[in-house]
Point group: D2
Chain length 283, copies 4
């Protein structure tokens, strides 16, 4: 498979779809998928278009330059991706390892188009698991005092490794704004509640105390405001008075795995556009 | 069908189940359903037991007196109900009539073991619908100024009609504490969000603005604190960026109907116990 | 709202999307939605494109003629629809009226872009309900002997009324092939099981006997082979050993209403393409 | 935790609940859970009762003898279990390892009250996975010719290991009647479809070909008739025309893991009663 993918957002006007489709067509591309959406409140146009590169007029590294005039004409925010360029991923985890384990398994099973180049943790618990899957493990113990210094080292490692996307698989630390800014809309978190309900700490205990009949999990991009980033995916499961807090945790962990892996796969397949702190997911 | 139903809660100790089952057995009752639950945090015992009255030792009006000593022994909160005594219901509605229509239809179809004796509204919109189902309609226009006076009149009507349970089927007014105290844990509301998320006004607009991927509806008993009463039932439905605010409303209305009618049916079938602002639902 | 909608299927090749989008663009149309899909097994291209007619180069009745050369070039199956031309609908029902009632309510609430011009039945049960909603009711009692004659009369009525689409809302009769051929892929049925499981008679009793833990409902286009037509929509609900056959019926009826109304709405919004006895639903 | 669990089924009559609860009470047991169900069609009574053994009148190995007279009186089928006696489990797998991996992970995470004492396979693929979790791996290659002989060896191994329950985690072989009879209602299979739809081979391909909008998975006890055993648990997930056969497989594998692990947990927690080729699950 050798495809190009264009993600576009711009003010809506006549002719965008025709112009973009035409760009692909006249240059010899065969469109495999084309999705578009118009947000009527802000009059914004969104598009994801994917085409086969076999027989295309330009090599990968020159497509952008040829597309740029069209992009300027329509004042597009745009990015260009290639299925042959497999994203390099780092997974951050702490003591709850179910999501990490699930992602490692899925990647190995071919469900995640990514290279996992590092497992990063503030604890030692994930070491053996990472090694079982032959992924390098890096430990950065975090204290209030050393946090900024450790984050600098983490960022240096990520840079050296060419990491493009970070997954927080129940990572127990809150990243600083400085860190987040380096990976804007490229850090994916799983929160173990149906946000915006039960944001913050101990969401299962909050849900148990409140007596809700359904619990959820939410995957979102990380922004500076805690648990407030653009939501990518959510799912829910029914509970009852018979479920103890421990049952909520068990049921919730299954949700977390499903929701996080879906969100990550869509991100890796370049199916997500962010605007106005929300997401368009062309799933 | 001629059954008795006992709802019991009390501090947990040995012998409760045996004693209650024995009370039914030695007096000639055949147990049809028996459900129990122990809340381990508060060490509280909950039970719902239902038995056939054919051949039972006492008539309905004397069962309570015979059970009372056992209840005292175990310090029970308890209530006794009979399937032959069909609860009298009032439905309050305003301008959104989908829930009212749904409940009227279900009652007529035999899905709700209740008599609907009044439709009450602050507006005239529901009049024709109520009349189509031959239910008396009562209008009480509400202003800031006349609210207390109108509630007094409503309560007088409900008393006269022998109303035991009130359903707020998207009723647009907030009831006063005084009103609520008259019908403690007997007023059932439908809130058009997945509480505790998006409490208060315009939950669909809140959900749309936040960019959630799932919306919900919540049915709960009304207490003095707005949208904070014990949750009886919730359900959720998936949405996407393609759904407009209007689509959320449409999808949500289907949820509201399902959730409210389930909650009400469980209440009418005496399947709900309230404790600690939560519910045990023996569904 | 004054939109045109094109539904297209044709052998896949380069340039279809660009050509169709260009047709809309050069003639002054603003694309509101564009969805496409390629079935990789049969190499078939599917498209739904919707655009605003305000300012479009041709009036409605001449758009088809202008599009025809492009359609021929790509050997398209295509149809052209207009949101201003509201489809005329007939609903067939028998003795179970929940789906009929639900559709009448939704139509009145503005959720179904259709005119309901007739309720047709072999029994009298639906008469009062139809009249409550001021829809003409027509009764055609069916016996083995008179079936063909009655269907001829039904077809005459439908023709006279200009009916374009028929909904079988738990209609108890099996239509003859002759009837079905008059409304190819324009008769929508609701089957009260998760097809292909429990096809034929009494699906709830079949499901109950089998001890399944989930039941479903299926909406499909009617073809000559009973319960074998292209599936439009399905949904499921959880049951348990506590659910009696009657509970299955009650839970199932809610599913039926949801599934049928969704399927019908998608049909009316021209979101469905049929191929290979399956459907593409651009929902 | 040191509990006893009684599973009971018998013809319904007055006094069963009282007698059983009394047996526990007078002998000093504290009931933790008590669930009962009456199948009205066959007038059969089902019960699961769990009590704390601390302070109970008899040691574990003498409880049965003391209960037997009561059991005879009510003509009970019954079995007695103890939470301290952790069941010994063998998992059979072949080439698809997602379910095996999931069960091994859950067991290690404390979600499955069982000892996994053997992974058995006709292929070598699962070897490394089993060893990662330090579970002994046994390979029995199967051909048409050696099948009976290999099964004899498998049974000998299971006997030697004290295996009480077998999980077929996508095991590719059909067990013979002789094998099945040794483990009546103690072999749990996962079938990758929403049974009874798409029984037999390649259910995902069948579902894809049929164009269903939802797929499912089913866990059931294995009986002599293929895919016809009592259903324990099912779940479903939505698909669309955009999902390839490969997507169905991926989505379905997640279902399989969830459904199989739930069914197994309920079996291990002694929450399942079988009758009339159906199950009562006191979940």
């Amino acid at each position: 498979m050798d495809h190009a993918i264009l993600l576009i957002s711009c003010p809506d006007q006549k002719g965008i779809t025709a112009s973009v489709a035409n760009f692909v067509y006249v240059n010899g591309g065969n469109i495999i998928h084309a999705d578009q959406h118009i947000d009527e409140q802000s009059d914004t146009f969104f598009m994801r278009i994917e085409w086969e590169l076999a027989g295309f007029a330009f090599p990968r590294n020159r497509i952008g330059a040829h597309f740029a005039p069209l992009a300027r004409k329509f004042r597009m925010d745009w990015s260009l991706h290639f299925t042959k360029e497999v994203p390099r991923l780092a997974i951050f985890a702490s003591k709850y390892l179910h999501c990490l384990q699930d992602l490692l398994w899925r990647q190995k099973a071919g469900q995640l188009p990514a290279q996992i180049v590092a497992v990063v943790s503030n604890h030692a618990d994930a070491k053996k698991l990472a090694e079982n899957f032959r992924i390098p493990f890096y430990r950065f113990p975090i204290t209030k005092k050393n946090k900024l210094a450790q984050e600098r080292k983490q960022l240096a490692l990520l840079k050296k490794k060419g990491v493009e996307c970070i997954v927080l698989a129940r990572y127990g630390q809150i990243l600083t704004e400085k860190f987040i800014r380096q990976y804007r809309h490229r850090i994916i978190n799983i929160h173990h509640s149906f946000l915006p309900a039960f944001a913050g700490k101990s969401p299962y205990a909050q849900a148990y105390g409140k007596g809700v009949k359904i619990i959820g999990a939410t995957s979102h991009y990380v922004i500076e405001a805690l648990d407030e980033g653009p939501i990518i995916e959510q799912d829910t499961v029914r509970i009852s008075h018979r479920d103890s807090l421990q049952d909520l945790v068990r049921k919730g962990e299954d949700l977390e795995k499903m929701v996080l892996s879906r969100a990550l796969r869509w991100h890796l397949e370049r199916k997500i556009l962010v605007y106005d702190n929300k997401t368009v997911v062309f799933s």
